[in-house]
Amino acid sequence: MSSHAQVHVAMGGRLMTRPFMVLLAIAGVGAVTAAVRFLYGIGAVSNLSNGYPWGVWIAIDVVVGTAIGCGGYAVGILVYILNKGQYHPLVRPAVLTSLLGYGLAVIAVIIDLGRFWSLWKVPVYVWRWSHSPQLEVALCVAAYTLVLMIELSPALFEKLRAGTSTGLRRLAERGLTLVEKNFVWILALGLLLPTMHQSSLGTMMLLPGPRMHPLWLTPWLPLLFVVNCILIGFAVVVLEATFSAAAFGRPRETVMLASLSRIAGWIAVGWSVFRVGEAALAGKLGYLNSGYGLAFMAEVLLPLAAAAILLSERRRQAMWQVRGAILLFVGAALHRVDTYLVAFRPGQAFSYFPAVPELLITFGIIAAEVAIYIAVVKTFPILEGPVPAKKTF
């Protein structure tokens, strides 16, 4: 999209600010806890059990984490499929958030896998592939992480091109041309793969069907998960853009985010109507009168509340955009956690609440995600705009 006058620029500024060091410390604690897990086993740091084999690492770090990584997917559909070029400035930061979301989800998977050293066999032993929906998720997530790296590589090449070494400059030119030439199919892959594995994340929870609460067990789970990741994707894009504006003293993209909010608002309405409609048609509304019913209603009402904000005139104010995005994020993420954790009922003999070290790993991963985002945005040309006034965060 060469029609834009503005260019991607690195934000610059001091890296080792106090908030950044706090984030590094949290990530460091997570890394030490992960080391304990690798030395002494999953049981040493978590409350995972034979009744609850999956906990927050899967439900939050992986299942919500990859949805956070769907900002690039959601904006990509808007810009390249629906041809809404005006959202182009949101693409590159969204792709960065996506790469971080997916990259750290992969790290979380490795921490969670009991026999992680065998993971390389999954893409290699093709002749042993089953039709498990999880195989589809594993292969697609790995492939998508690579695609995201390619999609983001121009940021690296542009930085190298501006450098002093002639050899690197030539390499960067060649890299940029290569990406530019293959742009169409790389991008198509970047939109296909999330559609595939996000829907398969839904399919996955059909297999524990007999032990799932009926409010979350529907053959529509694959569709729900795709729509859900788009909701979370839009919410993350709004939050990320607002955060960048505040942190790096950039002009706010309030007008653009207002029109994006409207789209997200309508999808949220569709989501809630579909959830209630599906439950009603399947005769599951009787379950609403329970604790599970409360969780279900929260998943329906939070996105509706978000839509009420995002579809009103208030969406033109940055503060309300953020409030709407947070409501949307929490409501949609709740559906993921509910499906993977709350709705799974292994019997009264078992209970689960994450252990402190288990949570430390989760917090560490989130902190690492934010820290790497800040570092990359300061170092590489990710955000669009004129060279901003130097401001430290």
Partner: protein
């Protein structure tokens, strides 16, 4: 723009129809049946006296460590199936009703655990139908544990190099081919069959080929009408059928045998997954890829050709 959108909607509709067409026939797929040589067990709760000899024998046969957490390390007393216990006897007790129940892998005809497994680490033997575990290809994801409706596969949470632990019908003991044994049951030589069945003093649990055991269960129901719950064998059709069959005098769901209906556990997930990806191999993803590529290409060309004009409109 208008043309683009119309083309987009049209192509997406075509893709959607293709997916839907794939899903519909897949859901009507023929259900799996147990292989002709399927081996299994028949447990009769009315005969079991809860002596737990089978629990001890299982531990010996499978070289499992003692589970003494419940009594401070004094003696082996597992309270549930776990990474050290593949077979257990439990007591169900409610008012006047009382029943022992034996728990181990049910060796489902269409197992959820094996459907969950990415590289067939858990797989069903083609001849005996025993659900076997090969740690070589296991990544320790524990999806099998999520997928099993009987909560059978267990995991060594306490180890840095953990494995999945579950009953494999003592397959490691088999050295010679099975022969027809006394009572009309296909048996292995003494010491090569499932240890729990070989030691049971009351023959509350016996083993043999699944069809032989099913016949035996139905003979018992016919001989003592009204003795067994609903005059029914659990596992004949439940969850698509299991190779371990149960007779009991109390409701099955009270002794840990859930009401699964006759639908195999993986059926819905497979109908969706097969419909999208395998019914017409990879039609949906390849088709969607082509559509996405075409739309992106078109938009990009329109964008570069009419860039100036578009800028004006905006």
């Amino acid at each position: 723009m208008a043309i683009d959108r119309r083309a987009l909607i049209k192509s997406l509709a075509v893709g959607g129809t293709a997916v839907a067409a794939g899903v519909a026939p897949a859901s009507a797929a023929v259900r799996k049946t147990a292989p002709p040589g399927a081996m299994g067990m028949l447990y009769d709760a009315t005969l079991c006296i809860g002596c737990k000899t089978c629990v001890v024998a299982c531990k010996q046969a499978n070289d499992m460590p003692a589970e003494s957490a419940a009594n401070g390390g004094l003696w082996d007393a597992p309270t549930d199936l776990d990474s050290k216990t593949k077979n257990i006897i439990k007591l169900y007790h409610e008012g006047e009703q009382e029943s022992f129940v034996k728990q181990q892998c049910m060796h489902c005809v269409d197992p959820g655990c094996a459907s969950a497994c990415m590289l067939h680490s858990l797989h069903k033997d083609e001849v005996t139908g025993v659900v076997m575990y090969d740690p070589t290809y296991c990544v320790g994801c524990r999806y099998c544990m999520m997928a099993c409706p009987f909560n059978i596969p267990k995991f060594e949470f306490e180890k840095a190099a953990p494995k999945i632990v579950k009953c494999e019908l003592c397959r490691q003991r088999i050295k010679d081919a099975a022969v027809m044994g006394p009572g009309g049951f296909t048996h292995y030589l003494k010491g090569q069959g499932p240890a729990c069945c070989e030691v049971c003093p009351r023959e509350a649990v016996i083993y043999g080929r699944r069809d032989e055991l099913l016949g035996e269960a139905k003979r018992r129901i016919a001989a003592w009408p009204g003795k067994y719950y609903k005059d029914r064998v659990y596992g004949e059709f439940d969850g698509g059928g299991t190779q371990v069959l149960y007779l009991a005098h109390v409701p099955f769901d009270r002794i840990g045998l859930p009401d699964l209906g006759t639908q195999p556990v993986p059926e819905t997930a497979y109908a969706v997954q097969e419909g999208i990806y395998y019914k017409v191999p990879f039609l949906a993803p390849v088709g969607l890829f082509a559509v996405l590529g075409a739309v992106i290409y078109r938009n990009r060309r329109a964008d570069s050709v009419g860039a100036a004009e578009k800028e004006g409109k905006r």
